[in-house]
């Protein structure tokens, strides 16, 4: 039987650093996906995911065991991502992928993977993240609102608009590749 997050965190607090490896192992792909949703760029996403785990480890002493560790971890990732995008947007426009680079793959599982990510990244960042939290991580609107520090109705509205845009962009991509 796998130990719960709470047990592993207690071990970390008692100096068993190895227990944290299990935590990272458990959440690495999900936090990486969240980072990739946020950052668009896989290397910046790796950095964000890495920083999320390091920050979480540093702040373990301030973690309240009554709360869900998963929520806490995703909140750290959301906040760090917001800070990073803020500093990036001061330097350049990040909402358009490089226009010179156009995915040129034939229909394949790899193509579908890229297709979804392309559609996802066409959605504005403030809608993309709630959409991810709702549909990939399955958080409730209340949880999303407290993680993103917005009202519950704003969270609902953002998820709704995110869905609309995802469907729109996926069908656009489909039509585009159908013509190509």
């Amino acid at each position: 039987m796998h130990p719960t997050d709470a047990v592993l965190i207690e071990k970390c607090m008692n100096g068993q650093k190895d227990a944290y490896a299990e935590i990272v192992e458990r959440y690495q792909h999900r936090i990486y996906f969240m980072s990739l949703t946020r950052m668009r760029d896989r290397f910046a996403a790796e950095d964000l995911a890495q920083e999320t785990f390091i920050q979480a480890y540093r702040k373990l002493a301030s973690y309240d065991p009554q709360r869900s560790f998963r929520n806490w971890l995703f909140t750290i990732c959301a906040n760090l991502g917001k800070n990073r995008l803020r500093s990036r947007s001061r330097r350049r426009e990040v909402h358009n992928p490089n226009p010179e680079i156009i995915p040129a793959l034939i229909q394949s599982p790899e193509h579908c993977r890229l297709d979804l990510m392309v559609a996802l990244h066409k959605i504005p960042e403030k809608l993309r993240v709630p959409l991810f939290l709702k549909h990939v991580e399955g958080f409730s609107y209340n949880e999303i609102s407290s993680m993103m520090k917005i009202g519950t109705s704003a969270a609902k509205m953002r998820v709704k608009r995110g869905r609309d845009l995802l469907v729109l962009h996926l069908s656009e991509n489909h039509n585009h590749s159908g013509r190509g």
Partner: protein
């Protein structure tokens, strides 16, 4: 319409399932199914963190979970009314610290970055390190070893910059370091290793766990190393060349060192003057002279004939001149004394066969990037060009790195990733698409 829209999203949220049957009978049935299909794609999609992700994080963790000072301070911060007390205490402490630093300034950080280089050579009698940081002169950097696994190691401290180096085994055989940042053709049919020493806080990790006294430790600031003086034979002719060099602004010590190395290699004063003539004709020779000297010194170590030596010196010199002009033309001119990294990297890329037009395109596309980012991208371009990446794809990746404003470490990771993919035989376009996402 609004109501139908609301019902659709409530169904997607799993609320009001009793309405599903009526929606399925309505014109919205197809819309609902399209939404569900799209969301299912998102919900079943997964992304994999890199293979070494857990190890990378575990390496970067502090020894204990510990709050940083800002978080700790928060717990001391009193509620509303008494905020002025810690604020005043903090301001007072700050005054003492600033005053203390001003009064008792201790020079500590030398700006040198420690680097450990090693080579596995169990049967070697002696291993030396030679490179641009030592003017390719043997005798100054001798590695400690071998350890039980056959490794020889040396710890050197260098200022940030770009260096080329190789190991000199048993005083005669030059061996590049396969663990270096990259291998670069040396122009003589062999390869040198590349060492990029980055500035900023040192992240030195002792790879062997040796005690520091067990390394041969040499820093560039140390006095010593082989000293040279002009030969007695034809002394007047050598002195005349020395005077001409110093008159163009080249440092006397460097010039004297070079001339004695040339004499030691059997080069006559006439041949030496011929090799150096191009430097003597230029007012800005002193900017590029150290790099031309390195090439000449490397050539001497590799026992090159005098005519080849002149060609090598000329090629290096022209590369630096072209690079300077290119950086001015593209608006990336940086003060050479304080920031030579970009000029070095551009010049070495040109010398290495990178086309002027492609570098012009990359430098021209940069907007708001620092010189460190530009240098890292050009260096990455060189490494990937040698790894066999198609030039068009390479240019797109380089421009994309600049466009995204990736820092040097991220650019290095892009390089490693692309190199691995190339070694795996992945299609170049697929690599490009992966980088983009």
């Amino acid at each position: 319409m609004k109501n139908r829209d609301k019902i659709l999203h409530e169904l997607l949220d799993g609320v009001a399932p009793q309405l599903e049957a009526s929606v399925l009978r309505s014109p919205d049935a197809e819309r609902l199914s399209r939404y569900r299909d799209s969301l299912k794609r998102l919900e079943t999609h997964s992304e994999q963190a890199p293979d070494d992700f857990v190890a990378r994080i575990m390496d970067a963790l502090p020894s204990k979970p510990r709050l940083n000072w800002a978080d700790r301070m928060k717990s001391f911060w009193p509620e509303k009314r008494f905020w002025a007390i810690p604020a005043l205490a903090g301001a007072l402490a700050m005054l003492f610290i600033i005053g203390g630093i001003t009064l008792f300034h201790i020079p500590g950080n030398t700006g040198l970055i420690p680097v450990v280089l090693d080579l596995r050579a169990p049967s070697a009698r002696q291993v030396e390190l030679v490179g641009t940081f030592s003017d390719w002169t043997p005798g100054g950097f001798i590695l400690k070893g071998p350890d039980p696994a056959g490794y020889w190691a040396i710890l050197i401290k260098l200022p940030p910059g770009r260096y080329e180096y190789a190991f000199l085994v048993n005083g005669s055989r030059l061996v590049p370091d396969d663990d270096g940042e990259a291998l670069r053709p040396d122009g003589f049919g062999n390869e040198n290793s590349l060492l990029l020493v980055k500035g900023g806080p040192s992240q030195f990790v002792d790879p062997y766990g040796f005690a520091s006294h067990e390394y041969t430790t040499i820093s560039l600031n140390d006095p010593g190393g082989p000293a040279f003086s002009l030969p007695d034979q034809n002394r007047e002719l050598w002195q005349a060349i020395l005077r001409d060099g110093v008159a163009t602004g080249i440092e006397r010590d460097k010039m004297e060192n070079l001339l004695s190395q040339l004499a030691g290699a059997g080069i006559t004063p006439d041949e030496a003057r011929c090799v150096l003539s191009l430097l003597f004709q230029d007012d800005q020779a002193d900017d590029h002279a150290p790099y031309v000297f390195h090439k000449i010194q490397e050539s001497i170590l590799k026992k090159t004939r005098p005519e080849t030596l002149k060609a090598m010196a000329e090629s290096r010199y022209q590369a630096f001149k072209k690079a300077s002009a290119l950086l001015v033309q593209t608006g990336h001119e940086a003060p050479f004394e304080t920031d030579p990294f970009l000029l070095n990297t551009t010049a070495f890329a040109l010398e290495d066969g990178q086309s002027l037009a492609s570098l012009q395109e990359i430098l021209g596309s940069a907007k708001g990037n620092s010189s460190a980012q530009l240098a890292a991208v050009i260096e990455a371009g060189e490494t990937l060009r040698h790894a066999g990446l198609e030039p068009e794809i390479l240019a797109l990746i380089m421009k994309d790195c600049l466009r995204k404003g990736l820092n040097s470490q991220q650019i290095n990771r892009v390089t490693r990733h692309v190199k691995e993919k190339l070694q795996e035989g992945t299609d170049h376009k697929i690599i490009l698409n992966e980088i983009w996402i």
